[in-house]
Structures are given as structure tokens and as C-alpha cells.
């Protein structure tokens, strides 16, 4: 454990922040521009994992375990979300034979 912490701390904190920010941004962009629901879904996961990574890094730097506990919460709830999300996608696929969200624009003002 010590060595893991030390090797994490060997890299400056800013690098973690930058890396996570980049991954997070990729996720956000993915959500905004992709049209396939499954890919959007994966992009959201990317965002969450960027968060997990950053939380772990912060946790090590503060020497505080609560950040890592939070990561477990996120993972658990992300799994729940995946389950629900895939169920919804399946339901829609049954009705439309597609996972493209462009055909879901019936509701408009």
C-alpha cells in the first residue's frame, strides 16, 4: 500500500487533474455530439471514470481514505445506472429497432 501511494505521489497532482479533465471533456463532448444512445452512454461512463481517477489521486494526496470510499459509491451506483439504462435502451430498441436518438424527436415544441 505504501509503495502504491508513494508511486502515485511521485507524479505531480496537476498531471492527474489535467488527465482527468481531458478524459472528462472527451466524455462531455461524446455526449454532446454522438447520436447513438449506447455511445452516449459509454461517454457518460468515461466521465464517471475520470471522476474516479481524480478522486483517488486527491485521496492519496490528502492522505484521507474518504475519497476512495466515494469511488466505491460511484462505481456501485454507476452499475445500477447501467442496468437501468440498458433496460431502457432495450425497451426502445424493441419499439423502434434502433438506438439512434435522432428518431426520438417526436416531442418537440
Amino acid at each position: 500500500m505504501e509503495t502504491v501511494s508513494q508511486s502515485i505521489q511521485g507524479i505531480p497532482l496537476n498531471h492527474y487533474i489535467l488527465l482527468s479533465a481531458i478524459i472528462f471533456t472527451i466524455g462531455v463532448i461524446g455526449v454532446l455530439i454522438r447520436r447513438n444512445a449506447i455511445i452516449i452512454f459509454m461517454s457518460v461512463e468515461l466521465m464517471l471514470n475520470a471522476v474516479n481517477l481524480l478522486l483517488t489521486a486527491f485521496s492519496v494526496y490528502w492522505g484521507d481514505a474518504s475519497g476512495q470510499v466515494f469511488v466505491f459509491f460511484i462505481m456501485a451506483l454507476a452499475a445500477a445506472e447501467v442496468a437501468i439504462g440498458l433496460a431502457i435502451l432495450t425497451m426502445i430498441y424493441r419499439n423502434t429497432n434502433s438506438t439512434d436518438i435522432n428518431i426520438l424527436n417526436r416531442l418537440k415544441w
Partner: protein, 459 residues
């Protein structure tokens, strides 16, 4: 805290009742259980509450008041669900259980003292709602609403979490008190990470409450979801989201006002403008309600803009007024959709002649939403306006007053249709549960408007 436990157990109990085919018992058990939870939560009224569960939660007056109002509203909505779910599918128990699970999440959201609890609360609530939005499996609109709500929800959770992480990175704590202490230590020299974190948190929560410019999912989701669930989302969920928002900002970020107030003002102005102007052009009652709910978020944000000790009170009164009136509106909408199959404004024509009671309660609700005196909505708006004026946001208030005028225009469309337009129509059948809920809500609306003392200085 016993309210949270009661609600969770109640949800499980309902699942078992469903398993043993005791369908008749579902609704009464749910109502009684919720009333017990309401009483239990009100019994914890204690002005000097201390954080519990290793500082995870704080069941203070704020939490009691908001969990009280959310449970109360859920009771009203569940009472409207008589025969509603049966039309969708025969497995009714799950729907009740899901509503109650999301309510459990909401109780967490209003009583958290640690950002992890905020996150868990939001997730418990949202995950249940994703399902509820899509319970009409064959209905395309419902499918679409579920997917949109799900994608937007997951997306905003991601943003929210990134904000939480950055705040943790800056302050080294998820605890509201810890964050506050960190900011108070030297408010001028906080880490830039914190500012980014606050921004992302505000954005994330704005998604949840549906404040412009993060509102675009609201009309679609509210329109597509089954009306009962829309009622739940636009009242209970919105109130809870707002309470969580307010709690975070009041507790921890108040010293950094100069940073976030411009953001909130911008959101408030946009919400008012977009909500009101778009609502005018709606032809359908449900979609009009969705846009009006956006505009009401704009008014509620006033309490955050003029933040002080009584903001919670103002939000509480406003939220109560808005929610009760909205429940009446959705109650009538459910009847109308069920029996006429249409919710355009024209389908209200001549309602006053055939269903005077229904028309009267709906009129009271619309007046309250529009903020006409002697209804609860007026007291809410009055408190919001005085708060904003007391902190000299004069432009904002003048703008809001203009928007209130626009609001009257579309709320009155319904009244005009009901009273001034004649049409031959069948009388709507109003079940007893509906009569009770609508009559009671209308009474509450008037009572709060005439004598607001008994809830207005609660917190």
C-alpha cells in the same frame, strides 16, 4: 431519521404485498405508511440537531420541513394514483415501491451533511425515476421521455461528481462543515479548484431542478412521462432538488457569494424568460405546465440570490404553494387525459358548466400559480420579491414582475376555456379520491393565501 427507515421498509412491504397479490391493500397501506412517516419526521422537530451517522446527515429543521413537505406531496400524488397504474400494467406494487424508493432518496437529499450522501440521494431518486418515466412500455413518448431523462440525468450526475471531486481536491473534505471551515479560513485565497468545483456543482444541480439554460430536457420528459409521474417529478422531485441546492449553498458556499451570485442571476433571468415566453405558445396543458415549472424555478432562485437566514423559509413557502397548485393541475389533467384523451386547451371548453367543482379547483390552482392575491402563490411570490428587493436587485425584480404578467396570460387560457367558452361535452367522472385531493389542495392554497402565518415562519 425514522422517516427514512419507515419509507424504505414501507417500499419493501409493498413489494411483498404485490408478491402475495394483495392488490387492494396497496394504496391504503402506502397512504397510511406515508402518514406515519410524515408524523415521525415531524416529531424530530428539533432546533439544535447535531449531525448523525458520523456526520453523514443532519436532521435539522430545514431537513424536517422539506422532508415533511415532500412526504406530504407524495401522499397527495399517491392518492391520485387510484386505478391509474392498473391501466398500464397489472404489476402495480412495483410502481408504488419505486415511488417510495425515490422518496427515500429525496429524504437523503434534503438532510445530507456530506456530499457523498447528496450523491447517493440523487442517484437513488433518479434511478427510480428513470424507470417510472418509462413505465408505459408501448408508448413511444414514454420511451423517449425515459431515455432523455436517463441520458440527461446520467450526464448531469457526471458533471456534479466532477464538481464534488474538485471541491474535495481543494478542501480535503466531503463534509459540508469541513468545506465551510476551509472557505472561512481565508475566503480570499481559496484554491481555484474550488471555484471550478462550485461552478460544476451548480451546473449539475441546475440540470436536476431544470433551471435554464439546462432545462431543455424538462418539457419533453414531463410531456412524455405518464401524467402522474410528471406530477411527481414537477413537484416532489423539483422541491427536493431545490432544497439540496439551497442547503449546499447556504451551508457551505455563502461566503463566496460574489462568485456565484452572477451565475445564479443569469440562470434566474433565463429561466423566467424562456419558461414564460415559451409557455405562452403552448397548445397543450401538460406542456404548458412543464414550461411554467421552468419559470417557477426562476422565481425560486431569487431566494438564493438574496441569500440570508430566511431563504429556506421563502423557498419552503414558495415550493409548497407551487407544488400544491401543480398537483391540482395534474389531477385535473389525469382525469381529462383518461376520459377525453386529449389535453389541448380546447378540451377544457365548457368544463365549468359540467364539472363546476373541478373547474373551481383548477381555477384556484391557476390563480395560485399566477400569483394572484389571497392564494398561496401570491404569498410565495411576495416573499421572493421582497427578498430580492431587500438586496437591491431592482432590475431583476422589475423583470420578474413583467414575467409574472406574461404568466397570467397563459394560466388564464385554461380559465377562459373553462368558463367563457361553451361546448357540448360529457361530464367527467371524478372519483372520490380525486375529489378529496383536489378539494383539500384547493383549501390549502386558499388558507395559505389568507393566513400564511402557520407555515411561513416555520424553519
Amino acid at each position: 431519521m425514522s422517516a427514512l427507515i419507515t419509507i424504505t421498509i414501507l417500499a419493501l412491504l409493498l413489494l411483498y404485498l404485490g408478491l402475495f397479490k394483495a392488490k387492494k391493500a396497496l394504496l391504503p397501506v402506502a397512504l397510511i405508511g406515508l402518514m406515519v412517516a410524515l408524523v415521525l419526521s415531524l416529531m424530530e422537530w428539533d432546533s439544535n440537531a447535531a449531525p448523525i451517522f458520523s456526520n453523514m446527515m443532519l436532521y435539522d429543521r430545514f431537513a424536517v420541513a422539506f422532508s415533511g413537505i415532500t412526504i406530504f406531496l407524495t401522499i397527495l400524488i399517491i392518492a391520485l394514483s387510484k386505478d391509474y397504474f392498473e391501466r398500464i400494467s397489472s404489476n402495480v406494487a412495483e410502481y408504488y415501491a419505486l415511488i417510495l424508493f425515490s422518496l427515500a432518496g429525496i429524504i437523503l437529499m434534503v438532510s445530507y451533511h456530506n456530499l457523498s450522501m447528496l450523491f447517493i440521494g440523487i442517484e437513488i431518486m433518479s434511478v427510480s425515476l428513470y424507470i417510472l418515466a418509462g413505465i408505459k412500455k408501448r408508448d413511444f413518448a414514454s420511451n423517449e421521455a425515459a431515455l432523455k431523462y436517463f441520458l440527461m440525468g446520467a450526464f448531469s450526475t457526471g458533471i456534479l461528481l466532477f464538481g464534488v471531486t474538485l471541491i474535495y481536491g481543494a478542501s480535503g473534505s466531503f463534509d459540508l462543515e469541513g468545506i465551510k471551515q476551509y472557505i472561512l479560513k481565508d475566503p480570499t485565497a481559496v484554491s481555484p479548484l474550488l471555484y471550478t468545483g462550485i461552478t460544476l456543482l451548480i451546473v449539475g444541480l441546475s440540470f436536476k431542478v431544470g433551471a435554464a439554460p439546462f432545462h431543455f430536457w424538462v418539457p419533453d420528459v414531463y410531456e412524455g412521462s405518464p401524467s402522474l409521474i410528471s406530477a411527481y417529478m414537477s413537484t416532489v422531485v423539483k422541491v427536493a432538488g431545490f432544497a439540496a441546492f439551497l442547503r449546499l449553498i447556504m451551508f457551505s458556499f455563502a461566503p463566496l457569494q460574489d462568485f456565484w451570485i452572477p451565475m445564479i442571476i443569469g440562470m434566474s433571468v433565463l429561466s423566467l424568460l424562456i419558461g414564460n415566453v415559451t409557455a405562452v405558445y403552448q397548445q397543450h396543458f401538460k406542456r404548458m405546465l412543464a414550461y411554467s415549472s421552468i419559470s417557477h424555478v426562476g422565481y425560486m432562485l431569487f431566494a438564493i440570490i438574496a441569500l440570508n437566514g430566511s431563504s429556506d423559509n421563502a423557498v419552503f413557502v414558495y415550493a409548497a404553494a407551487y407544488s400544491v397548485a401543480t398537483i391540482i393541475a395534474f389531477g385535473v389533467l389525469i382525469l381529462l387525459q383518461g376520459q377525453v384523451g386529449n389535453d389541448s386547451f380546447d378540451s377544457f371548453n365548457g368544463l365549468a358548466r359540467k364539472n363546476p367543482f373541478l373547474a373551481l379547483t383548477l381555477t384556484i390552482a391557476m390563480l395560485s400559480l399566477a400569483g394572484i392575491p389571497l392564494t398561496a402563490g401570491f404569498i410565495g411570490k411576495f416573499m421572493m420579491f421582497s427578498k430580492a428587493l431587500s438586496s437591491y436587485h431592482i432590475f431583476l425584480v422589475v423583470f420578474a414582475a413583467l414575467n409574472a404578467m406574461i404568466g397570467i396570460f397563459y394560466y388564464f387560457k385554461v380559465i377562459v376555456a373553462m368558463y367563457f367558452k361553451e361546448e357540448d361535452r360529457k361530464e367527467l367522472i371524478v372519483p372520490v379520491y380525486f375529489k378529496l385531493v383536489l378539494g383539500f389542495s384547493a383549501l390549502v392554497t386558499i388558507a395559505l393565501g389568507v393566513y400564511p402565518d402557520f407555515i411561513a415562519s416555520l424553519i
